[in-house]
């Protein structure tokens, strides 16, 4: 039995203590200084775990619909006592958020440490699996890359500077908290990040419908990186010409797979080849 968590009741949508949760839908489109909004029970749990690890992420405060508190006793107990838990009625909560919050579970967190791709790659173990996102500006796609990376135990996600921030509310939600689990870096160009991987002994495979090898035939190497591009235009031909390319076998004459599914299949196959699963 855990003791009931102390909560602070918010009556006024303009209360400064919960200002960070105000109009989150609109502000999602702006930079937020490494702060982010986590939504839903599963992501809340992932944030508590990340906070407890004392690594890249810390929780600042929680804001919950009042009738969710009792059911979340276990999750709330996972946060240290100095992380305040605010609660509000449905009408106050909706007035704060600026839209109807169906699930009524919000947390504010921040990213404490921001690694460069080089720093992150230097910290990886001798046997490693990296996903490289190349120019992915769609929040759903970035989120699903992290969800798949977490599911198949990838060690890191490396993004170029043009890929979108995975801490955007929707990307974090689609990742089901994977963004808080898999270490990542986002800066530099695709070429610069690829050079870093090659210098550190990674075998780089680019995923493409026109790939030369079928993904299930890829031979395992201790350090492997999978590059994935946008669903429409795919990876630049300069990359496809220079690196190993892998395709996923499909029925003839059809549009390619959804980007998330294709990345999931490729990661599953590579992680299996490396003996990770």
């Amino acid at each position: 039995m855990t003791a009931p968590r102390h909560v602070i009741r918010i009556e006024d949508p303009d209360d400064p203590r919960i200002a960070a949760f105000r109009s989150i839908r609109e502000r999602d489109l702006t930079g937020r200084e490494n702060r982010f909004i986590a939504e839903g029970t599963v992501v809340l749990r992932m944030l508590a775990a990340a906070h407890a690890r004392g690594g890249d992420f810390a929780a600042e405060k929680l804001l919950l619909l009042e009738n969710r508190v009792a059911g979340l006793a276990e999750e709330l107990a996972a946060f240290p006592p100095d992380v305040p838990v605010y609660v509000a009625s449905a009408s106050v909560l909706d007035a704060i958020a600026g839209f109807h919050l169906h699930r009524g579970v919000l947390a504010l967190g921040h990213r404490q440490t921001v690694a460069s791709p080089a720093d992150l790659i230097d910290r990886l173990p001798a046997s490693a699996l990296v996903v490289m996102a190349a120019g992915i500006s769609n929040h759903d796609n970035i989120g699903s890359i992290f969800r798949n990376a977490a599911a198949f135990g990838a060690d890191a996600v490396i993004m170029d500077a043009t890929s979108c921030d995975p801490l955007y509310r929707k990307a974090l939600r689609v990742s089901v908290g994977g963004v808080l689990k898999v270490p990542y870096a986002r800066s530099g160009s695709i070429e610069e990040n690829l050079s870093l991987l090659l210098q550190r002994g990674f075998e780089v495979w680019a995923l493409s419908p026109a790939g030369r090898a079928e993904v299930r035939t890829i031979a395992a190497a201790p350090r492997m990186a999978l590059i994935t591009g946008t669903e429409g235009s795919g990876l630049p031909s300069a990359i496809l010409d220079r690196f190993n390319t892998a395709r996923i076998a499909q029925a003839p004459g059809l549009d390619s797979l959804n980007a998330a599914t294709a990345t999931g299949i490729a990661l599953y196959e590579i992680a299996r080849a490396q003996g990770r699963l």
Copy 2:
């Protein structure tokens, strides 16, 4: 060189000839007597192919943004001359549809033949791969099942009556036209449809995070069926207890994969085992 397609210009959003395209977002929620709206170039191409095959689907009319016509010459030529092509300006088109139509490509089609699960299964070849959707009411998930079924060459999708109509606008769009490609039936209960498959010699595998066999170890059989349930609650335990169950190996301690990705991986593995890819 194909001759330019004859088009009919619409100036009045209330023109009765394009009444079927009016307020499509709201009407999507209602029954539409096997009529459906296809959106976008790829789905338009799939509709033309389905119409030309003369099978389950026929195109009735097209409605395009005027500046899209020139670029779609090849797609338009694929429709017979008795399928009228209406064009409108952006403002008239948006007034018809009831929201801003970014892509400006719409078609109205209808389903001509509605097979029962028994009829559909009876028509399948000796070697067959079937996907069974069990209680899937989410349009995205139904759409992605069809996209994956098409990508990996499944012969049919069987849905119980509680699964949602794959001809819903969003489901059809997410399927990227897969709904027009892979034969399907939607009626009966999960149990009834499973009995039909068993009677016709199918080996049935239920996909579940708690599955007993890893999906890559499934032995091929000439006739195989994969059952997939909802992402949250999964398949009923009565099914999991009674049939072969398959899981997708994942890193420990994590939330399960996205339903679309999980189905995609399982179909890829089974289709490969059957020698289809």
